[in-house]
């Protein structure tokens, strides 16, 4: 083989090795850190496996927020106006967490109760996160009643 060909080949081999390592790493990392998104209706239907890390989006039900006076423990209900999910959280709620507003929680489900490791509320009050909107839309579609209070609330 001519020397410059060999150099070219070395470099190509080098690039190919680098790329395959990177792709391998990427796929491995992706498979471990994807959080699937569920709606309260799906959680209520038991679609989430125990211990599986998921995200759930919905509206914080009015009057459902219970704060402990002794610890950071908080419980509230996330709803898509079709089904409710009880959320438990030990930590500090974000500034924009409010009753009647959209919320996205990250965590695991055990016996119908959601143990949240992270609670996200959006920065702009006029703006609803894609996830919350998707949950409400899905619930709306599944309800045969044309009355859609939830949709009006979410605009």
């Amino acid at each position: 083989m001519k020397p410059h060909r060999r150099k070219k080949l070395t470099i190509i081999a080098f690039i190919a090795t680098g790329l395959s390592v990177a792709i391998g790493l990427s796929l491995y990392a992706l498979s471990n850190s994807i959080d699937l998104f569920f709606t309260p209706t799906q959680v209520a239907a038991g679609e989430v496996m125990n211990g599986q890390r998921v995200r759930v989006g919905g509206m914080v039900k009015e009057g459902s927020v219970m704060r402990s006076e002794e610890s950071l423990h908080v419980e509230f209900v996330a709803t898509d106006y079709a089904h409710d999910v009880l959320i438990r959280y030990d930590g500090i709620l974000p500034d924009l967490f409010r009753e009647g507003q959209g919320v996205v929680v990250e965590g695991t489900v055990a016996n119908g109760v959601f143990e949240a490791s992270r609670v996200l509320a959006k920065h702009d009050e006029n703006y609803m996160s894609v996830e919350v909107k998707a949950a409400l839309d899905a619930a709306e579609r599944s309800m045969s009643v044309p009355e859609t209070e939830g949709g009006a609330n979410g605009s």
Binding site: H4, S68, D124
Partner: protein
């Protein structure tokens, strides 16, 4: 009346951009000197009218003209004056105008500081930037006009600026980030101009380098400021979250880093030409992609204010046009970019190539993680997923570690050919010292062994000691150390400063991630909590009224091993106009550690929930970024880039290399 003048100025800017994007380009193609000479005056015109737009929008904010929709949405009569002015970039329309103005500023800079370049080349560069400007101004006129009015029923008062944006970070972060982002369009324009003229030689690379370095330095500062701002404003104690909108600047930064190194090889050795051009196109495309991601509303994040699908479609179309057009041109000109492999398999070129590949792979991996949720949603029929920080860390951390190893090898080895024995001889002691110290130092300071901390320290020291060794080698034959240091090229000093900054960031980022501790507690006034060596005593809260907010201000006494350190005052604010709450962190910043308190909410009993953090070395992340940017600026100042004017490209190509000794392997192209 005044906003209509702004509208008029915007339309005029668009017309001037179209002229600038056509006449000088045609002139350069046909050799029409008159049309070529139009480039600089037209650039000045674009700059003047876009500045006028910006001034008028600023005027509307300062005079509380709420009949302008953008002002009504992003300001309020109570808003302090500095935020009224900076609210210009507090929303989509205004920030896009600001962005376009930045482009005009870069264009003006190119037209002023291009005395060393032939006029036809400058005309091409400015023409390309004019075309980009035409795309941006048309986008504003068509989909996001900042001067749109709410008439006849204009609101009495504005909706106020998002409370999270009312902060010094917001005054300085967007301008620097945009400036850096947009700066890569200069390098892109240089690359396209070189493709158009068909002369891709080392002169082109030499002209591009200062611009690439300047854009890169400003982008570095912009990203660091964003990280610093998120750290003290968003209140979760983190400085990087792999947020979908943080990622595009990072992708751009990685590609930009690859680009400035690849440009160095192209200038010095005349190789990697096509790769450099491709990187310039990719870096620019990634900045457009960043805009697309932010504006289209496809991703949810803290940055996703004011999103609109039609805007997304427009930007996507523009992106397709730019990438498609440039790649087509690239393909047509590919035969001109042949360069032989004039270097051995162990040489600086090879190490720089390796670094380039790592940087591009890292940016591709980040892009994959950022876009994956969108693609997944499209493919699966609407199922939503999110990709978390673990993905990004799993990929980014090992890649950067490998990068660091090559960094030192590349810096110390020679162009064209380096013997393995030479590298071993130069770096054996450096390697041993960094590994040994990397094992000992974290252990000695914390009395605990941690693999990650040892690796990070060793890698950081590998860079630092590598720099020391390289400089020692360079000045070994000089009469004194001082004389030796004086003899070093300015650009070389800049490079070593930047590399040192990278070492500081690396150690800061890794060690703060490993050693940070935090605690969330519920405290009543009079209670305290211990964390690490510190004791935090909560003395209760008091009410406070600001210009446009009401606040609860807490007082904490911080003690270290029983000794009083200082008082800290975190706040919980409610902004009056929007009724939106905002948390103001209290931070005791230090070179070795930050103490950080963020308030949660008050319970009925009067107790407050709060989080307390101790973050060692977190400042190093931003300090290192500043050092790194400083290095790039120093490199820009090298005299080499400001040589006498050459009249034509042919002359520029015939001109001898800056370092004639190493140009032997260069092949003539065309």
């Amino acid at each position: 009346m005044v906003p209509e003048l702004g509208q008029f100025a915007l339309i005029l800017s668009f017309c001037l951009c179209v002229l600038l994007g056509t006449l000088p380009l045609i002139g350069a193609g046909t050799g029409n000197q008159l049309w070529i000479s139009l480039a600089r005056p037209l650039t000045a015109g674009v700059f003047v009218f876009l500045s006028l737009c910006l001034l008028i929008l600023g005027y509307s904010f300062v005079t509380d003209d709420f009949s302008v929709q953008f002002v009504a949405q992003h300001s309020n009569s109570l808003l302090p004056i500095q935020y009224k002015i900076t609210a210009v970039w507090g929303g989509h329309e205004g920030s896009f105008l600001f962005w376009t103005w930045m482009l005009a500023l870069w264009m003006l800079a190119v037209s002023l500081f291009s005395k060393a370049m032939p006029d036809d080349f400058v005309a091409r560069v400015l023409g390309i930037m004019g075309l980009i400007g035409a795309g941006y101004t048309l986008f504003m006129i068509a989909t996001s006009n900042p001067f749109d009015r709410v008439l006849p029923l204009s609101p009495a008062d504005g909706a106020d600026l998002n409370s999270a944006l009312q902060d010094i970070g917001f005054i300085i972060h967007p301008p620097s980030l945009y400036m850096g982002y947009v700066g890569f369009s200069v390098v892109f324009a240089f690359a396209i101009a070189a493709l158009l003229s068909g002369r891709l030689d080392s002169a082109w690379a030499r002209w591009s380098r200062p611009w690439a370095n300047a854009a890169w330095a400003i982008l570095t500062i912009g990203i660091a400021l964003g990280s610093w701002w998120a750290y003290y404003e968003l209140g979760w104690g983190g400085w990087w979250a792999w947020d979908p909108v943080e990622n595009p600047p990072m992708i751009n930064w990685l590609l930009g880093t690859a680009l400035i190194h690849s440009l160095a090889v192209t200038e010095k050795r005349g190789v990697f030409k096509s790769w450099t051009v491709l990187l310039a196109i990719m870096a620019f495309a990634s900045s457009l992609l960043g805009t697309f991601i932010t504006r289209s509303g496809l991703l949810t994040s803290v940055h996703a204010f004011a999103s609109d699908p039609t805007r997304g479609v427009y930007i996507l179309g523009f992106l397709g046009l730019v990438i498609g057009g440039s790649l087509l041109l690239f393909a047509l000109r590919a035969p001109l970019m042949k360069s032989e492999f004039g270097f051995a398999s162990v040489s600086r070129e090879v190490f720089l190539l390796a670094n380039n590949i790592i940087l591009v792979v890292a940016s591709a991996a980040i892009l994959l993680g950022t876009l994956y949720p969108m693609v997944y949603q499209a493919v699966s029929g609407g199922e939503l997923i999110s990709v978390g920080p673990p993905y990004f860390n799993t990929i980014f951390v090992p890649l950067m570690s490998i990068l660091v190893i090559f960094l030192v090898l590349g810096a110390i080895s020679r162009w064209k050919k380096t013997s393995v024995a030479y590298l071993k001889q130069q770096l054996r002691n450096v390697a041993i010292a960094s590994v040994v110290l990397g094992l000992i130092l974290p252990l000695a300071l914390t009395l605990e062994f941690n693999v990650g901390a040892s690796i990070a320290t060793a890698l950081g020291l590998w860079i630092v000691l590598g720099i020391v060794q390289d400089i020692r080698l360079k000045i070994a034959n000089k009469p004194s150390v001082l004389a030796g240091l004086r003899s070093l090229a300015v650009a070389y000093i800049g490079m070593q400063i930047a590399h040192f900054g990278f070492a500081v960031i690396l150690m800061g980022a890794a060690l703060t991630s490993i050693y940070s501790i935090e605690k969330s507690v519920l405290l009543s006034p009079g209670q305290g909590v211990d964390l690490g060596h510190y004791h935090f005593q909560f003395d209760g809260t008091e009410h406070l009224s600001g210009p446009n907010f009401e606040a609860e201000r807490a007082t904490f006494q911080v003690l270290r091993d029983g000794e009083f350190v200082r008082e800290l005052h975190p706040e919980k604010r409610v902004y009056v106009a929007s009724m939106s709450p905002s948390t103001e962190m209290a931070i005791d910043a230090g070179f070795t550690r930050d103490l950080f308190i963020t308030l949660g909410e008050e319970r009925e009993s009067g107790a407050w929930s709060m989080s307390i953090y101790i973050k060692p070395l977190v400042r190093w992340v931003w300090l290192g970024s500043i050092i790194m940017a400083l290095g790039a600026i120093v490199a820009v100042l090298d005299k080499r880039y400001r040589r006498l004017k050459v009249k034509t490209l042919a002359q520029a190509a015939a001109e001898p290399e800056a370092t004639p000794g190493v140009s032997g392997g260069q092949t003539v192209t065309g």
